[in-house]
Amino acid sequence: MTKSLSRLFRAWKRKKSRTSASVSAELTANLTYLQEALGSSTDVVIRQFTVGSAQPVKAALAFIDGLADNVMINESIMKPLMLEMRMVADGLSKKDILTVIKDKVISMGQLREVDNLSAMLDGMLSGDTVLMLDGYSSALLFGTRGWESRGVEEPLTEAVVRGPREGFTETLRTNTSLLRRKIKNPLLRFEVLTLGRQTRTGICIAYIKDLADEKIVSEVRKRLERIDVDSILESGYIEEFIEDAPLSPFATVGNTEKPDVAAAKMLEGRVAILVDGTPFALTVPYLFVESIQTSEDYYTRTFFATLIRWIRIIALTSTALLPAVYIALLTFHQEMIPTQLLLSMAASAEGVPFPAFVQAFFMGLVFEILREAGIRMPRPVGQAVSIVGALVIGQAAVAAGLVLPSMVIVVAFTGITEFIVATQIESVTLFRIFVTGLAAVLGFYGILLATLALLIHVLTLRSFGVPFMSPLASGSIWDLKDVFLRVPKWAMLTRPQAIPTNNRLRQKPLQYPRPPSGKKKD
């Protein structure tokens, strides 16, 4: 087993070291290469023609149908080459043709010369058009990318009441443009690299040069460059390769579907990673507190935003601990339940044969199944499933004497609150199972143990060098201005200090709004 694996591994390494040939001066050789490389795919278009009138040169134009913009090719490439070339080409020596085409004939913004066959192929596969001339050992790549894509729409996740409604799309270029539109700073940088041997996916590291810490940017770059995989279909593919704590239930890389969120994070000194083919951008470093912050906190007014933030904190705590506390109360600390409530709970507990933990486990499982079914089902059916599931199963389980009515309330409430802090669903669900199990064995002491274990774990986490739990533990107390409170905009003087940045101050101080100073005289 290990032997065959290591053989495979060596083969993989060899494949990588394959050097690609340069563009040949013979057009036919290049065409053969293309044909060999692409096979007889029907979407490959190779158009052969001649350029110039006096000394015609054989030429070939190649592009992929559907990826390249046909109109653009016809208007800006074919037409000039075939018609206008005649006018300028008289008396042109064969040597100069390429330069003339480049400099005078083609009316296109994006154009580059490549002498490497594989680079040529890569360009072509990303929608560029290749022009090869007989007798030249380089080819021209025209930027003709233009394909059918989804428009900029309101994203399904991260819905807001107030705030921009646009979301990233599947096209990398559109996404960078969305970011550029938010931040018109020349220092906004996009660094592109291609990853994935099969998919050749474009990845873009976006950051603001003055704000982002150079160390973090180079760390991101280093980690991305290390990736050597077959395919990258979604940002999740690279997330798992660049995480600091790959075995932790907690994500140390953030993701967002909204350009305004990505921009705001970049403005705090973070780095965004855009991946072609997905509307989800990654942001690093990612801190725990980001999961209780949403873009809308900063668009609504301060008091309400603070209230909502507290509601989120309470929801997060209760979704993590409520079933555990309930079980601990029910099976260990009955003295804590008010007498009247205990009597009525005891009344309904008569005749329920299962221990509280089994009930909670069973109901929790049912809820998770319903949730998953609701997501996977076609939308109209999905809604029916969740309502029917919640009402019917809960009601029936109580009526049949399988679970306590209060257990249904607890589980349902837990399930609902889970969605309030959507970014932590995965970790919270796992932790809930852990803590509920311990609570069933040791009561509140078990809850304490689970919580301490959780704390020890999260405190060891780092995201790109930044402690995951800052500013809650370690770090400046002033960073709490945007954790338990959302202080007014004019008081948010500094960027979060947890994220290293070269430019600490965010705005001019003392901008508390005042009435106009001069007294009006009637």
Binding site: T339, M345, A346, E350
Partner: protein, 396 residues
């Protein structure tokens, strides 16, 4: 480094397994609990035994009594057991009820008069040592009957009689007609220096039937009347209703209540005054080497009801009423003092404790003679009363 990490995880796993093998210790499902709502302590027929009565809630019946009626089980289950000690008697219950007794929701502890006269210290030890029993359970003494008898009464209002007793005590305490003493207070007074315990007195009475109704055959209503007075841990006697309030004045525990005074105009027609605020303080003084206890009472009240025709708007009438009120309060206090000092000779007012706080050195000298000194202590009263409001009408 790597090796130690491996060793670490192995240890963790082994230990966790060890933990899980032992099982669940303190776990108890709700349906396996016998919820003790009230406890009664009585003297068993055998001389050195106690009999303990528990009132267990039957939750199913508490929530929805069986519709068939008659054949349904009762919402509570009362059982008695005897043993050489409190816990000895309790231990036998499991074998009867099949459920584990759970005391944390115990509302009331009823001590039978006979048992109370023999001394309650051993019971209090159990009650404070047990980790489930709360120090906020009420302590009452059954007047004239066995405590078990009190637990057997059937409540009309509440499904669980213990809950009714508990709210009855709360209501009475609020109206300042009974001393609300819980385990905590009782133990504090029992162990405290220079103070003796008291407890509410509970008894069974006939239900007052509405006119035309059938007269009750059985005594089937509990009421809280008077106060049980202890010396050390033994019951020595009872205070009646006015004496109880006299005691509460001194202890500063009067909150609310009605004082009925004679109308200045017509002795037979009373005026009711409502207490809104009151405070009491004991201030011992040494006058020429002689100990004098000064009791300061401040009371404020409203005019609640005027059954006579006296015109309260007339100047001086309010003053007269205030004086009348003062007289009533003083009488109540005197009555309580007389009973406690002369008859029972027990310092339920905490005069000794008050001396020890204010004159620690002197207290150390007289401590040993205190029980002899106490009955003959001179007590001075300083009662100030005030009527603030006269209600929604002034006079008509």
């Amino acid at each position: 480094m790597k090796k130690s990490r491996k060793l670490f995880w192995i240890t963790v796993i082994v230990l966790l397994q060890a933990v899980s093998l032992i099982g669940c210790w303190n776990r108890q499902e709700l349906s396996s609990l016998g919820l003790v709502m009230a406890l009664a302590i009585d003297q068993a027929p055998e001389k050195n035994k106690v009999s303990i009565t528990v009132q267990l809630a039957n939750p199913r019946e508490v929530k929805q009594p069986s519709k068939t009626g008659g054949g349904g089980t009762k919402p509570v289950w009362v059982a008695t057991n005897t043993g050489y000690s409190f816990s000895d008697a309790l231990r036998n219950f499991v074998s009867i009820s099949g459920r584990k007794l759970f005391y944390a929701h115990n509302q009331v502890i009823v001590i039978g008069e006979e048992a109370a006269r023999k001394g309650v210290r051993p019971f209090m030890d159990f009650l404070s040592r047990n980790y489930q029993i709360r120090r906020t359970s009420w302590v009452v003494v059954a007047k004239g009957v066995k405590g078990a008898r009190i637990l057997q009464f059937q409540s009309e209002m509440e499904k669980v009689p213990a809950m009714e007793i508990s709210s009855l005590i709360k209501a009475k305490v609020d109206a300042s007609t009974a001393a609300g003493i819980d385990i905590h207070d009782f133990i504090e007074k029992l162990t405290g220096d220079g103070i003796e315990p008291i407890a509410g007195g509970i008894e069974l009475t006939n239900r007052t039937q509405p006119e035309g109704g059938e007269a009750g055959k059985d005594k089937n209503e509990v009421s809280l009347t008077g106060t049980a007075v202890f010396k050390e841990d033994k019951l020595v006697g009872w205070l009646n209703k006015p004496e109880t309030r006299g005691l509460l004045w001194i202890l500063g525990q009067v909150n609310r209540g009605i004082i009925v005074v004679e109308s200045p105009k017509d002795i037979k027609k009373p005026v009711a005054l409502e207490i809104t605020r009151a405070s009491g303080a004991v201030a011992p003084e040494f006058r020429n080497g002689k100990l004098v206890i000064k009791i300061k009472i401040k009371e404020e009240g409203n005019l609640g009801e005027n059954m006579s025709e006296v015109d309260v708007t007339r100047p001086g009438v309010i003053k007269t009423l205030e004086d009348e009120q003062k007289k009533v309060i003083e009488n109540e206090i005197r009555a309580a003092l007389k009973k406690a000092q002369k008859e029972f000779k027990t310092d339920i007012f905490g005069f000794g404790a008050s001396v020890s706080r204010n004159y620690p050195n002197e207290w150390n000298k007289i401590k040993s003679r205190w029980s002899g000194m106490y009955p003959d202590l001179a007590v001075e009263l300083d009662v100030a009363t005030k009527i603030r409001q006269q209600g929604m009408v002034s006079s008509w």
